[in-house]
Point group: C2
Chain length 290, copies 2
Amino acid sequence: MTAPFGLRLGRAVERTGTRACIGLDPHLDRFPAELQRTWAGLDGAARRAAQAEAVQTFNRRVLERIAGSVPAVKPQLAFYEELGAAGWKALEDTCAEARRQGILVVADAKRGDIESTARAYGQAILADDGPLAADAITVSPWLGLDTLDPFLDLVDREGKGIFVLVRTTNPGSPVLQHWGDPRAALVLASAVGRLRPGDGLSSVGAVVGAQVPAEEVKQIRASMPDAWFLVPGFGAQGGTRADCLRGARDDGMGVLVSASRSVLYPDAGGGDPWSAIESAVRAFAREVAL
Amino acid sequence: MTAPFGLRLGRAVERTGTRACIGLDPHLDRFPAELQRTWAGLDGAARRAAQAEAVQTFNRRVLERIAGSVPAVKPQLAFYEELGAAGWKALEDTCAEARRQGILVVADAKRGDIESTARAYGQAILADDGPLAADAITVSPWLGLDTLDPFLDLVDREGKGIFVLVRTTNPGSPVLQHWGDPRAALVLASAVGRLRPGDGLSSVGAVVGAQVPAEEVKQIRASMPDAWFLVPGFGAQGGTRADCLRGARDDGMGVLVSASRSVLYPDAGGGDPWSAIESAVRAFAREVAL
């Protein structure tokens, strides 16, 4: 059987020497010009099909360039779904390609539903015999922790991982996450921290935004001592190295930092866009080196 | 421009005389035998493709049978996504077919994300020039109400609708929904109720489970006097007519009740499965007649 996700991620971070995770978010209007030309003049389903093909090409070229330098990638499902079935095909291809390159895949899906529906999402996104077979998934806890059960089954049976949305820092985030005393996010962190205590690093982690105040990150870490924190918000979203690594354990582990726009769409200054991406990824990897 | 969703749903309920919404959730192992035979012996992507084709056929036959008798259908995205790209193609086809039949489509997606990601989900699921172009979507509010903004743009510009997950009744639901004093779900209902006050019926509604206690439903209704409540849980999940209609306004409107397993997979007793489905849908429609 595959090793637990928490352990596999730890090994990948050690092997690559960095806590960098590349957010594979296709922003079509920022793709290299050679790719943008492929859908010019098309519309409707034909346009989506051409764009999905471009996404597939883009991701393959990025993955070839970054294999070995980062532990994980994080495709954001929304950007594939806006291309419909063709987008899902590109996503399937991207996950398969990442697997071939030995890069872990965190599917940023933020799903959260009950019973047979949650099982279906587990099959869609995580299960080894499903279409994506990602290594881990982001999940939304609002409906309650029983919504995690089908994903936890895949943690136990197939060595998969979960990142529960514990605390984000978008402007509207406090309305529910900070409700009550103690705040809902802390109650949640403490409940999620008890789900699969690891020895070493747990396969049940948390999404904790880069801009969460230090005191609050400390409280979340106290409730989830073995958890991986997935930290979005580096670079384009304003998070610094210090912000992003604030939740790390004393051994420097337990934090996976993601960046997307700042590394995938650098200003190539008229030069080769693929080399510019590779350089940006390597600079980011150094920035959050272990 | 298309009329607002709240109004369109009201007209559809009046025209069909019922508050029934059919949950188009493909449970493959309960499909008619003639369809189950189509994927026998296949596996992997070939199996998913054959199953997706069967889903497309199943939904088309159901939609032809029920056109004119119900105001809306509610495909649950998870059951399509577990078939990968082929499943998304079946979903696109199903939404298009429902449109042709004049049935409103509520995409049960429970998405909830920020900024450009939320916009991408809006494009994927609601936008008229997107792959699904559904009439309404279910959304998860945990990250905050700013996550609704891109969907609200589509409410304003394209006459689309939103159902915010306010209160469910799965066993784990209280942990966050009932946190704090007043309870988080009530705080949420009151914030959501102010988003797009309708005259008449608003295009911003709430998901309110059939088993929510009467007193709590009353409180939610007081905060959202013009909202449509999408009420899952009829039939297979144990909700009675009285449970499901508890949140209706004095004029009987404002409630859309969904059922899936109990109407799509009735015991045909060896007879024609399609007629059995049609009868079950009609019985459900009468049960929650206006």
